[in-house]
Protein backbone atom coordinates (compact mmCIF):
# COMPACT_ATOMS: atom_id res chain seq x y z
CA UNK A 1 0.00 0.00 0.00
CA UNK A 2 1.28 3.46 -0.87
CA UNK A 3 -1.36 5.66 0.75
CA UNK A 4 -0.69 8.59 3.00
CA UNK A 5 -3.74 9.74 4.94
CA UNK A 6 -3.84 13.34 6.16
CA UNK A 7 -6.23 15.04 8.58
CA UNK A 8 -7.97 17.36 9.06
CA UNK A 9 -8.91 18.59 5.59
CA UNK A 10 -9.13 22.11 6.92
CA UNK A 11 -8.69 23.99 10.14
CA UNK A 12 -9.14 27.48 11.45
CA UNK A 13 -6.91 28.80 14.20
CA UNK A 14 -6.62 32.14 15.92
CA UNK A 15 -3.43 34.15 15.58
CA UNK A 16 -0.98 32.94 18.18
CA UNK A 17 -2.59 29.53 18.42
CA UNK A 18 -1.22 26.08 17.56
CA UNK A 19 -2.07 24.32 14.31
CA UNK A 20 -1.75 20.54 14.32
CA UNK A 21 -1.93 18.37 11.21
CA UNK A 22 -1.66 14.59 11.30
CA UNK A 23 -0.57 12.02 8.75
CA UNK A 24 -0.43 8.24 8.68
CA UNK A 25 1.43 6.05 6.23
CA UNK A 26 1.39 2.36 5.45
CA UNK A 27 4.62 1.49 3.66
CA UNK A 28 7.29 0.62 6.25
CA UNK A 29 9.99 1.07 3.59
CA UNK A 30 9.45 4.82 3.60
CA UNK A 31 12.36 6.65 5.20
CA UNK A 32 11.75 10.28 4.33
CA UNK A 33 8.82 12.39 5.55
CA UNK A 34 8.62 16.00 4.32
CA UNK A 35 5.99 18.64 4.81
CA UNK A 36 5.23 21.09 2.03
CA UNK A 37 3.49 24.47 2.16
CA UNK A 38 1.54 25.70 -0.84
CA UNK A 39 0.06 29.13 -1.46
CA UNK A 40 -2.66 29.65 -4.09
CA UNK A 41 -1.27 29.65 -7.61
CA UNK A 42 2.18 28.50 -6.49
CA UNK A 43 4.00 25.22 -6.42
CA UNK A 44 4.58 23.46 -3.08
CA UNK A 45 7.67 24.50 -1.13
CA UNK A 46 9.49 22.32 1.36
CA UNK A 47 8.81 23.42 4.92
CA UNK A 48 10.52 20.80 7.05
CA UNK A 49 11.40 17.11 6.75
CA UNK A 50 12.29 14.24 9.05
CA UNK A 51 13.96 10.86 8.82
CA UNK A 52 12.71 7.94 10.97
CA UNK A 53 15.80 7.83 13.15
CA UNK A 54 14.55 10.83 15.15
CA UNK A 55 11.22 11.36 16.91
CA UNK A 56 11.06 15.13 16.63
CA UNK A 57 12.53 17.92 14.57
CA UNK A 58 12.03 21.62 15.13
CA UNK A 59 12.73 24.53 12.82
CA UNK A 60 11.56 27.86 14.13
CA UNK A 61 7.83 27.69 14.78
CA UNK A 62 7.44 24.40 12.90
CA UNK A 63 7.87 21.00 14.55
CA UNK A 64 7.51 17.50 13.16
CA UNK A 65 6.71 14.69 15.57
CA UNK A 66 7.31 11.17 14.29
CA UNK A 67 6.02 7.88 15.72
CA UNK A 68 7.60 5.02 13.82
CA UNK A 69 5.73 2.22 15.58
CA UNK A 70 2.38 3.84 14.88
CA UNK A 71 3.44 4.90 11.37
CA UNK A 72 2.23 8.42 12.06
CA UNK A 73 3.76 11.87 11.92
CA UNK A 74 2.43 15.31 12.57
CA UNK A 75 3.18 18.97 11.96
CA UNK A 76 2.78 21.52 14.70
CA UNK A 77 2.76 25.21 13.84
CA UNK A 78 3.35 27.22 16.99
CA UNK A 79 2.30 30.85 17.39
CA UNK A 80 0.36 30.66 14.12
CA UNK A 81 0.41 33.84 12.03
CA UNK A 82 -1.93 35.06 9.26
CA UNK A 83 0.96 34.56 6.82
CA UNK A 84 0.86 30.84 7.65
CA UNK A 85 -2.56 30.60 5.96
CA UNK A 86 -1.89 28.08 3.20
CA UNK A 87 -2.41 24.46 2.25
CA UNK A 88 -0.05 22.00 3.90
CA UNK A 89 0.82 18.61 2.47
CA UNK A 90 2.57 15.76 4.20
CA UNK A 91 4.44 13.27 2.06
CA UNK A 92 6.37 10.05 2.46
CA UNK A 93 8.78 8.10 0.35
CA UNK A 94 12.18 6.56 -0.02
CA UNK A 95 14.90 9.20 0.19
CA UNK A 96 15.80 10.47 -3.25
CA UNK A 97 12.78 8.85 -4.86
CA UNK A 98 9.18 9.67 -5.69
CA UNK A 99 6.90 10.94 -2.94
CA UNK A 100 3.39 9.88 -1.96
CA UNK A 101 1.41 12.89 -0.80
CA UNK A 102 -1.44 13.27 1.64
CA UNK A 103 -4.61 15.00 0.54
CA UNK A 104 -3.69 18.36 2.04
CA UNK A 105 -4.91 20.55 4.90
CA UNK A 106 -6.13 24.05 4.28
CA UNK A 107 -5.11 26.23 7.23
CA UNK A 108 -6.68 29.61 7.90
CA UNK A 109 -5.17 31.77 10.63
CA UNK A 110 -7.56 34.46 11.81
CA UNK A 111 -6.03 37.74 12.99
Amino acid sequence: QQQVKQSPQSLIVQKGGISIINCAYENTAFDYFPWYQQFPGKGPALLIAIRPDVSEKKEGRFTISFNKSAKQFSLHIMDSQPGDSATYFCAAGRAGNKLTFGGGTRVLVKP
Partner: protein
Protein backbone atom coordinates in the same frame (compact mmCIF):
# COMPACT_ATOMS: atom_id res chain seq x y z
CA UNK B 1 19.37 31.44 -8.49
CA UNK B 2 16.70 30.33 -10.92
CA UNK B 3 14.21 27.79 -9.70
CA UNK B 4 12.25 25.20 -11.62
CA UNK B 5 10.35 26.79 -14.47
CA UNK B 6 7.38 25.41 -16.35
CA UNK B 7 5.61 26.46 -19.50
CA UNK B 8 3.01 27.32 -20.41
CA UNK B 9 1.62 28.56 -17.11
CA UNK B 10 -1.91 27.99 -18.39
CA UNK B 11 -3.22 25.86 -21.22
CA UNK B 12 -6.78 25.56 -22.48
CA UNK B 13 -7.41 22.88 -25.06
CA UNK B 14 -10.27 21.02 -26.65
CA UNK B 15 -11.05 17.42 -25.87
CA UNK B 16 -9.15 15.13 -28.22
CA UNK B 17 -6.23 17.49 -28.84
CA UNK B 18 -2.65 16.71 -27.86
CA UNK B 19 -0.76 18.97 -25.42
CA UNK B 20 2.89 19.32 -24.46
CA UNK B 21 3.99 20.67 -21.12
CA UNK B 22 7.58 21.73 -20.53
CA UNK B 23 9.76 21.68 -17.43
CA UNK B 24 13.16 23.31 -17.00
CA UNK B 25 14.74 21.93 -13.82
CA UNK B 26 17.28 23.67 -11.65
CA UNK B 27 20.67 23.51 -13.36
CA UNK B 28 22.68 20.52 -12.22
CA UNK B 29 19.75 18.65 -10.72
CA UNK B 30 19.82 15.04 -11.84
CA UNK B 31 16.39 13.94 -10.70
CA UNK B 32 13.17 15.23 -12.25
CA UNK B 33 9.61 14.39 -11.24
CA UNK B 34 6.17 15.06 -12.68
CA UNK B 35 3.12 15.19 -10.43
CA UNK B 36 -0.53 16.02 -11.09
CA UNK B 37 -2.72 18.01 -8.70
CA UNK B 38 -6.45 17.95 -9.27
CA UNK B 39 -8.58 20.77 -7.85
CA UNK B 40 -8.44 20.71 -4.07
CA UNK B 41 -6.56 17.43 -4.04
CA UNK B 42 -3.12 16.19 -3.12
CA UNK B 43 -0.33 15.56 -5.55
CA UNK B 44 -0.33 12.38 -7.62
CA UNK B 45 3.00 11.01 -8.84
CA UNK B 46 3.28 10.53 -12.60
CA UNK B 47 6.87 9.84 -13.66
CA UNK B 48 10.43 10.14 -12.33
CA UNK B 49 13.75 10.55 -14.18
CA UNK B 50 17.08 9.98 -12.45
CA UNK B 51 20.23 10.56 -14.44
CA UNK B 52 20.65 8.03 -17.23
CA UNK B 53 18.53 5.37 -15.55
CA UNK B 54 15.29 4.14 -17.09
CA UNK B 55 12.46 6.39 -15.91
CA UNK B 56 9.93 5.21 -13.33
CA UNK B 57 6.67 5.46 -15.27
CA UNK B 58 4.56 3.68 -12.67
CA UNK B 59 2.30 6.68 -12.02
CA UNK B 60 1.24 7.42 -15.58
CA UNK B 61 -2.56 6.97 -15.63
CA UNK B 62 -2.86 5.74 -19.21
CA UNK B 63 -0.89 5.23 -22.41
CA UNK B 64 -2.05 8.67 -23.53
CA UNK B 65 0.54 10.10 -21.17
CA UNK B 66 4.24 10.07 -21.96
CA UNK B 67 7.29 12.05 -20.97
CA UNK B 68 10.85 12.44 -22.07
CA UNK B 69 13.90 14.18 -20.76
CA UNK B 70 16.44 15.39 -23.26
CA UNK B 71 20.12 15.72 -22.42
CA UNK B 72 19.44 15.14 -18.76
CA UNK B 73 17.83 18.55 -18.44
CA UNK B 74 14.57 19.77 -19.96
CA UNK B 75 11.56 17.47 -19.78
CA UNK B 76 8.35 17.41 -21.79
CA UNK B 77 5.13 15.76 -20.63
CA UNK B 78 2.82 14.91 -23.52
CA UNK B 79 -0.85 14.10 -23.19
CA UNK B 80 -2.44 12.70 -26.33
CA UNK B 81 -6.15 12.84 -27.12
CA UNK B 82 -6.87 14.89 -24.01
CA UNK B 83 -9.96 14.14 -21.94
CA UNK B 84 -11.84 16.42 -19.55
CA UNK B 85 -10.60 14.37 -16.60
CA UNK B 86 -7.04 15.37 -17.55
CA UNK B 87 -7.82 18.91 -16.34
CA UNK B 88 -5.46 19.57 -13.44
CA UNK B 89 -2.30 21.39 -12.45
CA UNK B 90 0.77 19.56 -13.68
CA UNK B 91 3.75 20.13 -11.40
CA UNK B 92 7.38 19.43 -12.09
CA UNK B 93 10.04 19.07 -9.41
CA UNK B 94 13.78 18.51 -9.45
CA UNK B 95 16.29 17.44 -6.87
CA UNK B 96 20.09 17.49 -6.80
CA UNK B 97 22.69 14.76 -6.76
CA UNK B 98 24.51 14.50 -3.49
CA UNK B 99 24.63 12.92 -0.10
CA UNK B 100 22.42 13.62 2.82
CA UNK B 101 19.32 15.71 2.92
CA UNK B 102 20.16 17.82 -0.13
CA UNK B 103 19.45 14.98 -2.52
CA UNK B 104 16.06 14.36 -0.96
CA UNK B 105 14.58 17.83 -1.29
CA UNK B 106 12.28 18.21 -4.26
CA UNK B 107 12.00 21.76 -5.56
CA UNK B 108 8.73 22.41 -7.34
CA UNK B 109 7.93 24.66 -10.23
CA UNK B 110 4.78 26.83 -10.33
CA UNK B 111 2.89 24.29 -12.41
CA UNK B 112 0.94 24.31 -15.66
CA UNK B 113 -2.82 24.67 -15.27
CA UNK B 114 -4.46 22.54 -17.93
CA UNK B 115 -8.12 22.90 -18.76
CA UNK B 116 -9.68 20.50 -21.25
CA UNK B 117 -13.00 21.72 -22.63
Amino acid sequence: GAGVSQSPSNKVTEKGKDVELRCDPISGHTALYWYRQSLGQGLEFLIYFQGNSAPDKSGLPSDRFSAERTGGSVSTLTIQRTQQEDSAVYLCASSPRGAGESRETQYFGPGTRLLVL
